[in-house]
């Protein structure tokens, strides 16, 4: 069983692990992570929904220095990119990117969700978070 940074962010689907968001029954707005109130219509009829595992890169950067706490990543998983990925018809989610070369990142490129290790715990067991990698499907 893969260890996750926060189980409540994820759900299992037939296609693999997906991010778990909320969808407003009144106005169809999505959020991530889940929340009880709708920031769009101010209602409170939110239901859990798995988010798309694929999308397109909406913006990106590369983390150029080791952040201070509360960051607790392990050096061997650095550096890392950071992006916003547009999940069609849902929302734009912020995530780590596995790619860190600016020459290989471009707004509009297809991306797919992946679980990646970001730190090792005291026993050396990797803890995973979500990230996006270039690509259009799970190959």
């Amino acid at each position: 069983m893969i260890r996750l940074v926060d189980e409540s962010l994820f759900t299992r689907t037939p296609d693999g692990v997906a991010l778990l968001g909320s969808r407003c029954a009144d106005c169809s707005a999505y959020t991530f992570p889940r929340q009880g109130g709708c920031p769009r219509c101010t209602g409170s009829a939110m239901a859990d929904v798995p988010l798309s595992r694929t999308g397109t890169l909406w913006s990106w950067t590369v983390q150029g220095f080791r952040p201070k706490p509360p960051y607790c990543g392990s050096e061997r998983y650095e550096p890392y990119g950071v992006g916003y990925v547009e999940l069609p018809g849902q929302l734009i989610v912020e995530a780590r990117l596995t790619e860190t070369d600016p020459e290989r990142l471009a707004i509009g490129m297809p991306m797919v969700l992946e679980l990646v290790p970001f730190r090792d715990d005291l026993d050396g067991v990797p803890v995973h978070t979500f990230a996006f990698v270039a690509g259009s499907s799970d190959v």
């Binding site: 926060d6 950067t61 509360p70 960051y71 978070t129």
Partner: protein
């Protein structure tokens, strides 16, 4: 309703002043502002003020004088100073008080601004995995902006170069050494496309302003500056703000757009009439975006304005004439009031080596910050 005037300004130099507390810097600024207006603290009928990390503003009365005045603390992140000013504006405009003081101050250690995700209602995972980093947000935001408007990233170095050039002409600035665009572009990359010298640093400093009913302004000064509009807005659904694990697919304007439009509307003055502007430049990209979001120019027009020297001190639309946050640093509670201090100096003709030529009549200030807020003012002679 009374109109509102600024009749006294005071500042403690920005930067890092070892051995002088943030509160002591605030007291210095307050005394300077009172002296400028020829008044004593006992003449003040109200106070509004705040700092992010240097203590409660209302405790300054133990040093300034225990006069019984209502002194209200303001805590609104980067808009703390702007919010204090708006509260003072309302207090005078409504007729509640005739005269009072606003004070913004701060003292941050090197590399400050660590934020606990819980303070923003976000899970611990966000910080642990390395996403709770403000510098990242600025990189992500300007990356998208450059893409949307077809702007080349070279403009980011040009903006920082101008900030250091203006700072070198301002004796109150922290960074007073000019840096070339090439040096700025070659500095370590903090968050692509922004390098180290394109960002401001956490700093220290204090600013105080004495405000009064406009019809009494000439009792205190021969050169009042009138606060014609002061407006504050928070974010709408669909804007792109710091510490956002997600954004809505439908896009909305930044709070800057609404706050600036409201301030101009209140003043009855258009952005095309502005002679000197201070806009939030937490980093170069912020100045780039805010120039257009405030209505001072069109989106995509900035490259041409910068290349043509339009936003230089001697240009048609001088922007961040004191060097902005990039050259002055960011003491959160004081920054918004620094912009007003600088604008009053300019409108009085007192800015010395960084004075805008041609007798400027209309000034504009803009602050922006977490978690998606903006405060703007329009000032005239």
């Amino acid at each position: 309703m009374s109109e509102v005037a600024i009749v006294g300004i005071g500042m403690h130099r920005f930067g890092r002043t070892d051995g002088v507390s943030g509160r002591a810097q605030a007291v210095h600024a307050a005394r300077e502002a009172l002296r400028d207006a020829g008044l004593r603290f006992s003449d003040m009928r109200f106070g509004f003020g705040g700092s992010h990390s240097a203590g409660d503003a209302d405790t300054l009365v133990s040093e300034l004088g225990l006069t019984g005045l209502p002194f209200i603390n303001v805590a609104n992140g980067c808009a703390t100073g702007g919010s204090a000013l708006i509260a003072a504006d309302a207090a005078i405009r409504s007729g509640q008080h005739d005269i009072g003081i606003v004070i913004g101050f701060d003292k941050h250690p090197r590399g400050a601004f660590d934020t606990d995700p819980a303070d923003h209602g976000i899970g611990a995972w966000y910080g642990e995995t390395g996403l709770m980093v403000t510098t990242q947000f600025f990189g992500l935001k300007v990356q998208r902006y450059l893409h949307d408007h077809g702007i080349a990233p070279g403009v980011l170095a040009a903006i920082a170069e101008k900030a250091f050039r203006n700072g070198a002409r301002n004796p109150m600035a922290w960074r007073r050494t000019e840096l070339s665009a090439a040096e700025i572009a070659a500095a370590p990359m903090i968050s692509h496309p922004l390098t180290q010298y394109m960002y401001c640093s956490p700093g220290q400093g204090a600013v105080a302003l004495v405000l009064c009913r406009a019809d009494r302004a000439r009792t205190y000064t021969g050169r009042p500056v009138y606060l014609r509009g002061a407006e504050f807005r928070s974010r709408r659904y669909g804007s792109f703000e710091v510490f956002s694990p997600w954004l809505a697919s439908e896009r909305a304007d930044s709070p800057t757009v609404e706050a600036s439009a409201a301030a101009f509307a209140a003043a009855g003055i258009g952005p095309d009439e502005v002679d000197v502007a201070q806009v939030q430049d937490t980093e170069s990209g912020a100045e780039l975006m805010h120039m257009a979001e405030t209505g001072l120019c069109a989106h995509g027009e900035q490259e041409k304005l910068l290349a043509g020297g339009t936003t230089e001190i001697e240009g048609r639309l001088p922007v961040n004439t004191d060097g902005g946050c990039i050259a002055n640093g960011e003491p959160i509670g004081a920054s918004g009031l620094r912009q007003v201090y600088e604008t009053v100096l300019q409108l009085r003709g007192d800015a010395g080596a960084h004075q805008v030529p041609g007798d400027p009549q209309v000034g504009f200030t803009h602050v922006y910050g977490a978690p998606g807020i903006s405060a703007c003012t329009v000032l005239t002679r």
